[in-house]
Amino acid sequence: MIGTYEIVSIVLSILVLVGIKLMSSPKTAVQGNRIGAMAMLAAVIVVLAYNGIIDVPLLWFAIFVGGVTGYIMAMRVKMIQMPQMVALLNGLGGGASALVALVEIFERYKQMTLFGRLTGQLALAVGAVTFSGSLIAAAKLDRRISQRPIILKNHGLISNAVLLIIILLIITASVANISGIGFIAIITAFLALAYGVLFAIRVGGADMPITISLLNSFSGLAGAICGFTIEDPLLVAVGAIVGASGLILTQIMCGAMNRSLVDILSGSQLNSGINKKET
């Protein structure tokens, strides 16, 4: 079970950990970011070579288009727009995870085990929530949507109802062998998109950085769950590292701003939050 690929995966995962560690200290941060980038480049090449798909032109074309777009976007953005840029990029990553899950479900649902079906549906849902939630966060920070928390009537009830339906759909599609799986998967994706919107519009502009950090953790988690579906240990490991370190960073940021995550997600404003909780 432990072959060359698994060993390379462990080495690259450790590199990612080292990169994140270095990024948390001012002196070594630049270096840490570059180590992370190197590890990812190596991971892409290893995965292409290991799966024998390094000579597929379509993949290189996609990498080229994405790479050029990403580079231009990153160079053009002004420093003051950085938080919304990070939110936007994070959303794209979540969207990519959701699309991978969708492709896997469309192509292989019939042959999938219970584990594959469950993780595929989960990755679809978490990825879609990350996508729409991050886009709303970016739009709020960019003042395209009001920075004030938008709270609908019965907001909590609606969110929970949507979440419950998503969970039921995931369970149904995993346990039963459904013939119209494509349709179910698309419904799940749309509900998850709606949930992401409901989740993010409720948060005030000042609290958005913390929400983005949480969504960043989600996108790592979505990647890791995708890794379960396609049975890739490297994707599982790196996704889990990002998911967990994103979560701890969210906690650190909450502490620094003297806010509780529950207050932020329920859309309570800054002053009322401080009155309620002293953390």
Binding site: P26, M40, V47, A74, A96, S97, V100, A240, S245, L249
Partner: protein, 90 residues
């Protein structure tokens, strides 16, 4: 068996990821978030594999979009983080 192996990897990696950062100066919160966000573009590994093996052209198209989005996340994320960090130095 393979599934058990993957779950163990997930748990171990989560624990390591949870312990890797302890104290971060607030100046570095955004760059660190941005850097880990870039790494979350790791989902490109999944998109490459599923696009390459997809049979129907619809799936291939969705997979293509997934690779593009993940690459934007990766490249954009690292470049943005690098720019932010350079600003602190000067």
């Amino acid at each position: 068996m393979k599934e058990m192996f993957l779950i163990i990897i997930f748990i171990v990696a989560s624990l390591l990821g949870y312990r890797v950062i302890k104290e971060v100066p607030s100046l570095l919160h955004t760059p660190l978030m941005s850097g880990t966000n870039a790494i979350s573009g790791v989902t490109i590994l999944g998109s490459l594999v599923s696009t390459a093996y997809a049979v129907s052209s619809g799936s291939k198209f969705l997979g293509f979009i997934a690779v593009v989005l993940a690459t934007v996340n990766l490249v954009g994320g690292f470049v943005v983080t690098d720019r932010m960090l350079k600003m602190f130095k000067s």
